[in-house]
Subunit: 132 residues, 2 copies
């Protein structure tokens, strides 16, 4: 497992970028970060586990919302500093805002305009808390 | 244009992550970075212009190879620190290695295994130089 980790170009914070892409739709769901432990747990459990930079701890995607990401395929890019995860997005919601994915704002008329509706409101997902 | 930039959460180096996704195939081609100028030029010229961290200068994707990326759509994620570009990949080659995209290595048998062939060799693309 060590050899696997050594081929990754970890940044100064010990992290690597990780893009989650939905199987079937091909939609890019989100970008997050992994440290060594997050990657090892992701591989072991075959579900996306990131490292939360804001909370400085492992972030088991879906731990509060139930919207976990099952890992189907894992790839590394040419220079070793970005991972690409093909995932099944449980619940069809990847974003903490309740949108299907995090890229719901589009550049239009010199602004970032929301072009997609939420699937569920954050309150519906989390109760009063907005997290995950 | 200033308002557009202000909604982006630039990192400590003044950069934002930018994912390029191919129109049609939906394939994630690469992850690169943009500074403010790169983003403004990208919007103005409707082609992907990144900031090269290794060369510390604007990197007009395809400037040497001809494999430019025409911009079709530009999105921003929920927390403003990642851009998603939908692009037309001219020449069908996004990676400097000559692969269609940068994610040609897959996690298999505890290793990163190349699972895609190059479209053209780097020498064919660049002559003796490997760049871009």
């Amino acid at each position: 497992m060590q050899a696997l980790l050594e081929q990754i170009k970890w940044n100064a914070d010990g992290l690597v970028a990780a893009i989650a892409q939905e199987v079937g739709s091909g939609q890019v769901l989100m970008l997050a970060w992994m440290n060594r432990e997050a990657l090892l747990v992701t591989i072991r459990e075959q579900r996306a586990v990131y490292f939360s930079r804001s909370r400085q701890r492992l972030w088991r995607k879906g731990e509060e919302s139930g919207h976990i990401q099952r890992l189907l395929e894992l790839r590394l890019d040419c220079d070793g500093d970005t991972l690409l995860l093909t995932v099944e997005q449980v619940g069809g919601i990847a974003c903490h805002t309740g949108h299907h994915h995090c890229f719901y704002r589009q550049h239009k008329n010199n602004d970032w305009q929301e072009v997609e509706l939420v699937v569920k409101s954050a309150t519906e997902i989390y109760g009063e808390r907005v997290d995950d």
